[in-house]
């Protein structure tokens, strides 16, 4: 951007309509941009100009409640045509505001609002006319549940905020709008419950968002990377959810939820490792079922990380720890396999990731073909060709299933990388290597924080908490908010409970 443009942006509107229109045309590159629209009109002889982006602004709303209203108002009381008069007496659009700085007006116009410039007036009226096409609220794609609400966030920030408000109809709910990105701004909303979320945590998150120094920020994924406590860590320190009910539950627990334009999910923080293992089903199902499912997920996580590494360690180094009958089966199964166990398991893991990734990218119509190919590669063909031993297929299949039981996608990928680390350590040093890897991972987890909150809290360090960490006991026993909520909320709820 040239220095001239910078100056133009920061300038205030002039009283000359022509001059203002020329400025906006220049800044919007109207000679090239065909969707930048400048609609001149007159009201009681005073010239006006509506500026909007075609497609972003709703034509119908603009013409019905703004342009027609301006043109048809010819009564004497509209003698003075200025921004106040337009807002108070003419425009029939609910949300209007005045603005006089060019940059402020332009930033709103590019998001779909419309501006009315008035000849002889140094102020413009900004009207909420956003009406760009967007996906309707639909079922979630990645976080489906058996029982419970089915709707998910969409790409529109406004819709997402509405969804969140619907689940948290409280006057304490604050939705604080921020903007990040120097050149292409990304609109972000911080949502939290005043008095429940810890003010320090909110302030910390706000400061981190505001301090993002990037020319462009593409959605919440990029924001997450900018503001996480340990960006080098394998596991995410913020919870991604595409479910408004889950985001609402986070807000009610005292967490802060981040929403952003064009991101069909929310980010919640602070979180702990245990949040990553919780799913929405847990809260909808009876406590016995929720607890059982959660334990299955924990087992899935442990199996996913350690089973292949343990298999390599035991079969390569510690045959004595395998019962002889099992050892015999493994040895027989491997008798014709040409690869060492490490190579065999890496081949299988790689094939598994490949099928997984291909399945994600493939159109639904040919997805079923992938299943056949996958089953052939991973199954009968590999065994028949003596490339893979059947027992390894079982190991990799159980491992994969364990990984799929993890509700959080990012967390699952982190675990996959951790699994590779454990496999390598197991191959290098056997059980000793697996112990070392487990120790390193544990210490790494214990050293992680999410918005300053220890990642393994409330277990280590111990903090007061509901019986809703690994086990989920009945709801009537869950009386206190999470330890990271504000002190006031914790005291009040404890007293109420």
């Amino acid at each position: 951007m040239s220095g001239n443009d910078e100056a133009l942006l920061r300038s205030e509107l002039s009283t000359s309509l022509e001059e203002n229109v020329e400025r906006f045309k220049a800044l919007l590159h109207a000679d090239i941009n065909s969707d930048a629209q400048f609609r001149p009109l007159q009201m009681r002889g005073r010239r006006l100009c509506a500026v909007y982006i075609e497609g972003m602004a709703d034509d119908k709303k603009l013409s019905d409640f703004a342009l027609r209203a301006c043109v048809e108002r010819q009564e004497p009381e509209y003698l003075t045509v200025d921004a106040d008069t337009l807002m108070e007496k003419v425009l029939e659009i609910a949300q209007c505001e005045k603005a006089e700085i060019v940059e402020d007006i332009l930033d709103k116009v590019v998001t779909g609002m419309s501006a009315v410039l008035i000849d002889g007036c140094g102020e413009a009226v900004l009207m909420e006319t956003r009406g760009y096409p967007s996906r309707p609220v639909d079922k979630t794609t990645n976080e489906s549940v058996v029982i419970g609400a089915q709707e998910g966030f969409v790409e529109s920030l406004r819709t997402n905020m509405t969804l969140l408000r619907r689940y948290v109809p409280s006057r304490q709910l604050i939705t604080e709008c921020l903007s990040v990105g120097r050149e292409v701004p990304c609109h972000v909303t911080l949502a939290y419950l005043e008095g429940v979320a810890d003010a320090d945590v909110v302030d910390r998150l706000r400061r981190r968002v505001m301090s993002i120094d990037a020319s462009t920020v593409q959605g919440l994924g990029a924001i997450q990377q900018h503001i996480e406590d340990s960006p080098w860590a394998l596991l995410p320190q913020m919870l991604q959810t595409e479910r408004p009910d889950r985001a609402a539950s986070c807000v009610m627990e005292g967490q802060v939820v981040l929403l952003a334009d064009n991101s069909p999910y929310a980010l919640a923080a602070p979180i702990t490792l245990f949040h990553q293992l919780h799913a929405s089903d847990d809260s909808f199902a009876r406590w016995q079922y929720g607890t059982f499912l959660r334990l299955i997920r924990v087992m899935g996580m442990v199996v996913s990380v350690f089973l292949p590494g343990l298999y390599v360690a035991l079969t390569d180094y510690h045959m004595h720890l395998l019962p002889l009958s099992l050892l015999g089966s493994i040895a027989e199964a491997r008798a014709n396999v040409p690869f060492p166990i490490l190579a065999e398991i890496l081949i299988m893991e790689f094939s598994f990731y490949l099928i997984n990734e291909a399945g994600t990218r493939l159109p639904n119509q040919i997805g079923s073909a992938l299943g056949i190919v996958g089953a052939l590669i991973l199954g009968q063909a590999a065994v028949s060709a003596s490339i893979i031993s059947p027992i390894l297929i079982i190991i990799v299949a159980i491992t994969g299933l364990g990984n799929y039981a993890i509700p959080d996608y990012g967390f699952g990928i982190g675990l996959v990388i951790g699994r590779l680390f454990v496999i390598l350590c197991g191959a290098a040093l056997g059980l000793y290597g697996v112990c070392l890897a487990a120790f390193a991972l544990l210490v790494g987890l214990c050293g992680m924080r999410s918005l300053g909150i220890p990642y393994l809290a409330p277990i280590a360090p111990k903090r007061p908490h509901n019986p809703d960490i690994l086990l989920r006991l009945p709801v009537w026993l869950q009386r206190r908010p999470m330890f990271f909520a504000s002190q006031r909320a914790r005291t009040e709820r404890k007293a109420a409970g």
Partner: protein
């Protein structure tokens, strides 16, 4: 980077370190007390209690603690290597076995004290779970009759074991000397008592799985513990995990304490100090003379650690004063 640890994390690290160090010392390294080892563990805790209450960083006590902790950490590192060698990796080069442990210790020092303490508290819970599994799997193999004669080699031996245990406790609880903030004597004694009781319980359990034997080397004792053949070997898997994990937690706590003490003395970047301390411990662990040093620590470690701390306490006059050190 400042090497720091909260009192809560320091207590957790100390609990695990005391438990593991006492067990390693009394069951494997110097099992002369035989069945009386559990009494030695408790006597050691009693002897070390004033030390644990009083220990704070002071320049003179800090230097002694650095030396003792580093030597003991090297001895623990050597123990890990030897037991690993025993367990199916006997043909691997010693360096191959030692360097990864040192790397893990360095990683944990770099993650700082809280990570070590919190990891220890989780490790303790997991170990308890695994020990319960081992107990259930091997319930038929336990022979309470093997706990007789109750006093093992007799009172002189038990008392000597108690003094040695106190020395091990002194070096294993040095994390308390570098903990941030101040805590009450009671809160310092709880992990000590817990660690000593846990060690005593483990010693009793190990006494029930293997009978008192006269003679036998280090490997025999490890064999008795990890692969004694009295129960199906696959039931020993959790025990092996507990063994290695326990030693790793102990080593990490000792390396951290040593590095943090050095930082308080030299005031340098924690990352570099951590690397230097772990490298030094690694080198010392390969020295042939380490065994003698370890024996010396086992015999005199308590007095060597206690005298400067007591002197600091007396000069300072009282619990609060001993915090100020010199």
């Amino acid at each position: 980077m400042k090497l720091s640890i909260s009192t809560r994390a320091a207590r957790a690290a100390m609990f695990v370190a005391v438990t593991v160090r006492l067990f390693l010392g009394l069951a494997v390294e110097l099992p002369t007390t035989h069945n009386g080892a559990w009494i030695s563990a408790l006597i050691g805790a009693l002897l070390a209690a004033p030390w644990v209450v009083c220990v704070r960083y002071g320049r003179s006590s800090g230097l002694v603690l650095i030396a003792l902790t580093a030597l003991d950490a090297a001895s623990v590192l050597a123990s890990i290597t030897r037991s690993t060698g025993y367990l199916a990796l006997d043909r691997a080069l010693p360096w191959v076995l030692t360097v990864p442990v040192a790397a893990a210790a360095l990683w944990s020092v770099w993650r700082n004290g809280d990570a070590i303490g919190y990891a220890a508290s989780i490790g303790a819970r997991l170990a308890l779970l695994l020990l319960v599994i081992v107990g259930l799997l091997q319930a038929r193999a336990f022979r309470p009759a093997w706990l007789a004669p109750v006093l093992g080699s007799g009172w002189p031996s038990i008392l000597e074991g108690g003094v040695r245990a106190a020395g091990w406790i002194a070096v294993s609880s040095s994390t308390l000397a570098v903990a941030d903030g101040d805590d009450s004597p009671l809160s310092r004694l709880i992990p000590l008592a817990g660690g000593a009781l846990a060690a005593a319980l483990l010693l009793l359990l190990s006494g029930m799985i293997t009978p008192t034997r006269l003679g036998g080397g280090w490997l025999n004792r490890l064999d008795d513990l990890l692969c004694n053949g009295r129960a199906p070997l696959y039931t020993q898997l959790p025990m092996i995990v507990v063994w290695f994990a326990g030693l790793l937690h102990l080593l990490a706590a000792q390396c951290f304490a040593c590095a943090a003490l050095v930082q308080r003395t030299a005031n340098l970047n924690g990352k570099w100090i951590g690397a230097a301390v772990v490298a030094a411990i690694l080198m010392v662990s390969r020295l042939p003379a380490l065994n003698e040093a370890a024996l010396w620590i086992a015999r005199w470690g308590f007095l060597a650690a206690a005298i400067p701390v007591a002197a600091t306490a007396l000069l300072g006059g009282g619990d609060r004063k001993c915090a100020s050190g010199d």
